[in-house]
Each structure stands twice: as structure tokens, then as C-alpha cells.
């Protein structure tokens, strides 16, 4: 019980400290790039519609990245434990990759990979 309490006090305190400290100490010089939704250098294209929403295409890229990223996340531990898992692991992983491949095929056929 006590460790949980201490932990929650620490985590809550850290969150508050970060926000307060950041807003107090940092210089406040805004430029256009800072006001972008994703401050990572990529221009959201086309421009957000009447300042309301970002186009879906941008998210699509992010989602595709996550799909394949997750695949690697699963593949790595499997590779480490490959000897222990044997045939069972191989079959399961083939099923998994096949399923991800279905997603890939879907995205490809429906034009998700066609860049402007």
C-alpha cells in the first residue's frame, strides 16, 4: 500500500513539476513550425481544412508505420526463443505474418500507397 502511495505522489509531482518548470524557465518565441500539430518537419499536405482537421493521409502514413513496427516487435522475441518454440512457433509466426500481409495487400489495393 505505502509504495503505491509514494509512487503516485512521485508521478503526479513530476508531471506538475515538468509543466510548471517548463512554462517558467523556457523562452517563449513562437514561429510557424512551433505551431504545427506535429513539430517533426513534415508539412501536413494538403493543408488542414479551414483550420479544423488534418487530412487523413498524414495519419495513414503513421498507421502503416505502426503496423510494420509492431510486426518487428513481435518478430524479435520470437527469433530469440526460436529454438525453444520449434515448429509451433514457426507455424504461429507464419500465420501472423500472413495476416499482416493481408493488411498490406488491402492498403496497396485501396490506394493507400499512392503518394501524391
Amino acid at each position: 500500500m505505502i509504495p503505491i502511495l509514494i509512487l503516485s505522489i512521485f508521478s503526479g509531482g513530476f508531471a506538475i513539476f515538468s509543466i510548471v518548470a517548463g512554462s517558467l524557465s523556457g523562452p517563449k518565441r513562437f514561429n510557424r513550425a512551433k505551431l504545427e500539430s506535429y513539430e517533426c518537419g513534415i508539412e501536413p499536405a494538403p493543408q488542414a481544412f479551414r483550420g479544423h482537421r488534418l487530412p487523413v493521409k498524414y495519419y495513414l502514413t503513421a498507421m502503416l508505420f505502426i503496423v510494420f513496427d509492431i510486426e518487428i516487435v513481435f518478430l524479435y522475441p520470437w527469433a530469440v526463443a526460436f529454438n525453444k518454440l520449434g515448429m509451433f512457433g514457426l507455424v504461429e509466426m507464419i500465420l501472423f505474418i500472413a495476416t499482416v500481409f493481408v493488411v498490406y495487400a488491402y492498403v496497396w489495393r485501396r490506394g493507400g500507397l499512392e503518394w501524391d
Binding site: L85, A105, R109, R110
Partner: protein, 513 residues
């Protein structure tokens, strides 16, 4: 966990067929969407989805009477799981039939071609003009069904969470696909998503606390730890409470019900039917398993809270339903009240409570799908006519549709000789024998109050003067007709001859873990 003591789990694929077949159908559906020409895409999707659900139903039938604990105790395919999986398959079939109807009167179906376009923009008008429709509805539904099938069979908390997310994510999307009233629909999707994520967080935190308590996430392991009573109970009860919040959110119990009216109203009506029936069955399936397996031996500590939630849910659902002027919202509040009634079966914690709850879920689900199905037929020029005043005098202009709707309302009210009565009876008598008599009394009073607003709609349909410019009742296509016909038949047959199904439910208990 060191790699040295790692062993590969064995998985009984045969026993998992009710889960795997819909999953397969979903994947095939994605491929159909990718490769089939657009002319046959819709029809092919309907066939794949129905085949997947029928296959799952057949698999449940074949497995009936068996029980397997597989995947290293993570999954338990036993009587209750199979019963509920069969129920979900049946409800899924009816919902898919409602979704599949694109007959001329239906105005091209309930779904939008492109869900992401801004409401009212030129893009949206263009997408409506193109006459395209989103065929991804079917794979999404099948993914949701996969999660629902897994949900009541999950025998450990982590898998339970995975199943919860698998069933929820497609539903969030499906809510935003309504062809009409786009803003309402998108809002419903976002609301559902935000609150659903919030509830999932509670669930995860509860899971973490329970793992901290028992050192395991398997339901049986938590039960053993709780019975041995060697650990700090506070963790156990806090974990239980937070876990329950996540599950109660999914089934729509008060005070976690607030999303239900908005989301049910905004979502496309066939999807509302699907959510109100199948999701609720799956959610209660999981709730039943968690409480009967893990916390059944705990005795009275959590009962007062559960009683409070059940009472609040019944009262909130019944009373707020009275003031509704929108038929969809009214049915939404009614589904909240029904959640309260089913909670009585859970609190009873005896065999008849389990079988009664399962029977109730089936009867309630079927009737609900039918009622929402009827809702899709009554239309104004700009979509479904859901405002109550638009239904005035419908009985005189379309006696058949109004009569069928009246039957569903009577069943929801629990009038004898409908399935609703038998279900309520089973749950209430289990409640009495489980020592929850006060709860049953509240249940009876609130069902009497609930009867008021169901009957009010019937009175309005049959005794009010028809409107001059009243809504049109479209002639349904074969798909909707058969969905409604199935509902009518089951509602009546289970009211008059409930015995075979009650026997089936009785034989399905208990849980194995």
C-alpha cells in the same frame, strides 16, 4: 521470465473454432475488399460474413457438452462460453442481415461511402453522389465478433483485455459510418472512443493491482489466492472494483452508462442493433465469468456495491426512458434498465443465476435486434424518423409494422407469453433463491415503471391520429424482413415454449477454469 523455463503452450484449435472461423471470415473479407471488383463486392462480403457466422454457430453446436481449458489456461471453452458464443453468432447473423439491406426503400443502405469527410463539405456531397458504399463494414463487424467470441471464453485477465480491445476498436469505427446525420454519427464515434479508452484504463489498472495481489493473471489463480487469504486484501478489492468499472462500462451499467444514449442514437441503426445485442451479451459473458470464477468465494464484501450498482442501473434506465422523445434513445435507456435486471442474475451467484442470465441475454438480444430492425423501416425524407411524435398513428397506416414493434416492446416490458417474461422470471427467481430479494423487488417495481413507457409508444401508434405528412414505412428487402421475422419467431416461441432453451442453458453451467 527466463528463456530457460519457457515451454510452448499447446492450443486446442478445434475448441477455438467458434473464435477462429469469424476471424478467418474477417480476413477473407479484407481480401475481398482488396481484390473483388466493385460490382460484386457487396454481395460477396455479405456471403462471407454470413458464412463465417453460420460456421461459428455450427462449431458451437458440435462442441456442445465439451469443455476444454487450452492455451495454457488462458482460454476456457466450456458450457457458458459456448452458449454465449452461439448467442453472439445468432445475433451477429441478424445484425448482418440488417446491415446487408440495400433495397430501394432503404435509400442505398445505412452507411456512408467515406467516413472521414467533413460533414456538410463539398467532399461529402461528392461522395454521396458517387453512390459508393463502404464494404469494410462487414470485415469490421467480423473482427468485432471475433473479439466478442473470445471475450466470454477468456480465462485470464490479459486475454480478456485483448478481447475487449479487439471487439471495441471496430465498434468505435462502425459508429461513425451513418449515412445520415453525419455530425451526430461522428460525434458518437469520438465519444465512444474517448470514454471507451477511459474505461479500458480503469480495467488495466485493476488488472495490474490484481496481478500485484495474486502474482498471476489467470482467473482461477486469483480465486485460489483470494480463498487462501494470505495476502493484503485491499489490493484485491481495489483491483476488483477497477476491473469491474471497465466491464460495467461495456455493458452500460450506471454510473457508467452515460455514453449509451448518445452513441446508440448517433450510430447507424443496424450497428446500434449489433451493439445493443451482441456487445451486451459478450460483456455480460465476461462479467459472469470473472465474478463466478474469481470472486465467487469472496462472500459478502463486494455485494453491497454490486447491489447499489444494480439498483441504480435499473432505476436510471427505467426513469430516464420515460422522458425520452426519441425512439432510439428510449431503446437505449431501456437497454440500460435491462442491464440492471441481468446484474441481478450475476449477484445471485448460483447455478440458476448463471443459466437465467444466459437465457435472458439471448431473449433480450434477439428482441432488441428486431426492434431496431423495425426502426430502420420507418423513414422521413431525410432518413429514419426516430422522433416519437412521428410515430403517432402508425398502427392505422401500417398495422403490420406497428404490430411487430408492439410485440417487441411488450417482450422488452416482460409481458407474459413473450420471451421477455420468461427471461425476467428466470433471473428474478434466481435472485430470490440467491438471497437478493430486495433487489428483485426493485426489479419488479422498475419493470412496472418501464412497462409504462413501452405501452406509451404502443398507445401512440394505435390510438393517436396519424400525421398528415407522416413518415413512410418502406417495404423492407429480404434481408431485413428475414432478420425481423427471426426475431418475431424467437420472441414468441421462447415465450410460449421456453423449456428446451432453458434446459440447454441449465445444462451449460458451470464454468470450468
Amino acid at each position: 521470465m527466463a528463456a530457460a523455463d519457457f515451454t510452448a503452450p499447446s492450443i486446442a484449435y478445434g475448441a477455438l473454432m467458434p473464435v477462429l472461423i469469424p476471424a478467418g471470415a474477417a480476413i477473407v473479407g479484407v481480401l475481398v475488399d482488396a481484390f473483388a471488383p466493385s460490382t460484386i463486392r457487396w454481395r460477396a462480403q455479405v456471403v462471407v460474413a454470413l458464412a463465417g457466422l453460420a460456421g461459428a454457430l455450427v462449431a458451437c453446436g458440435i462442441l456442445a457438452g465439451e469443455h476444454h481449458v487450452t492455451a495454457d489456461t488462458a482460454i476456457s471453452v466450456d458450457g457458458p462460453a459456448l452458449f454465449l458464443q452461439g448467442t453472439i453468432a445468432v445475433l451477429g447473423i441478424a445484425s448482418v442481415l440488417l446491415v446487408a439491406d440495400r433495397s430501394p426503400g432503404m435509400d442505398g443502405g445505412a452507411f456512408v461511402a467515406s467516413a472521414a469527410t467533413t460533414p456538410g463539405s463539398a467532399d461529402e456531397r461528392a461522395s454521396i453522389r458517387s453512390g459508393r458504399i463502404q464494404t469494410e463494414v462487414f470485415p469490421l463487424m467480423m473482427f468485432a465478433v471475433t473479439g466478442m467470441m473470445l471475450f466470454p471464453a477468456s480465462n485470464d485477465l490479459l486475454l480478456l483485455f485483448v478481447a475487449l480491445e479487439v471487439l471495441s476498436l471496430p465498434l468505435y469505427l462502425l459508429c461513425g459510418l451513418a449515412r445520415r446525420r453525419r455530425l451526430l454519427s461522428q460525434e458518437a464515434a469520438v465519444k465512444y472512443f474517448l470514454l471507451g479508452a477511459f474505461a479500458s484504463a480503469f480495467f488495466l489498472y485493476g488488472l495490474a493491482l490484481l496481478y500485484g495481489y495474486a502474482g498471476t493473471v489467470s482467473l482461477g489463480g486469483i480465486h485460489d489466492a483470494a480463498v487462501s487469504g494470505q495476502h493484503n486484501d485491499t489490493l484485491l478489492f481495489l483491483g476488483l472494483a477497477l476491473l469491474a468499472v471497465g466491464l460495467l462500462f461495456k455493458v452500460g451499467a450506471a454510473p457508467f452508462h452515460s455514453w449509451i444514449p448518445d452513441v446508440y442514437q448517433g450510430a447507424p441503426t443496424p450497428i446500434t442493433a449489433f451493439m445493443a445485442s451482441a456487445t451486451k451479451v459478450a460483456g455480460f459473458g465476461a462479467l459472469l465469468r470473472v465474478f463466478y470464477v474469481s470472486f465467487g468465494g469472496l462472500g459478502w464484501e463486494w455485494r453491497p456495491v454490486a447491489w447499489g450498482i444494480a439498483i441504480m442501473t435499473m432505476i436510471v434506465g427505467s426513469i430516464f426512458a420515460i422522458t425520452q422523445t426519441d425512439v432510439k434513445r428510449m431503446l437505449a435507456y431501456s437497454s440500460i434498465a435491462h442491464a440492471g435486471f441481468i446484474l441481478i442474475g450475476i449477484i445471485a451467484l448460483n447455478k440458476s443465476g448463471l443459466s437465467g442470465s444466459m437465457f435472458y441475454l439471448l431473449t433480450y438480444g434477439i428482441t432488441t435486434v428486431g426492434a431496431f430492425g423495425v426502426l430502420t423501416l420507418v423513414r422521413d425524407p431525410d432518413g429514419e424518423a426516430t422522433h416519437l411524435s412521428r410515430w403517432a398513428g402508425l398502427g392505422r397506416r401500417s398495422p403490420l409494422v406497428a404490430g411487430v414493434f408492439a410485440l417487441f416492446l411488450l417482450a422488452l416490458a416482460g409481458i407474459p407469453l413473450t420471451s421477455g417474461f420468461t427471461g425476467k422470471f428466470a433471473v428474478f427467481s434466481a435472485g430470490v433463491s440467491g438471497g437478493a430479494t430486495p433487489l428483485v423487488i426493485v426489479g419488479v417495481i422498475t419493470s412496472a415503471m418501464a412497462a409504462f413507457f413501452y405501452v406509451r409508444v404502443i398507445v401512440l401508434m394505435f390510438f393517436a391520429d396519424p400525421l398528415e405528412d407522416g413518415p413512410v414505412v418502406v417495404i423492407p428487402g429480404g434481408a431485413t424482413s428475414s432478420a425481423i421475422a427471426i426475431s418475431v419467431a424467437v420472441t414468441v416461441v421462447l415465450g410460449v415454449f421456453p423449456q428446451p432453451l432453458l434446459n440447454l442453458a441449465n445444462h451449460a453451467v458451470p464454468f470450468y477454469h
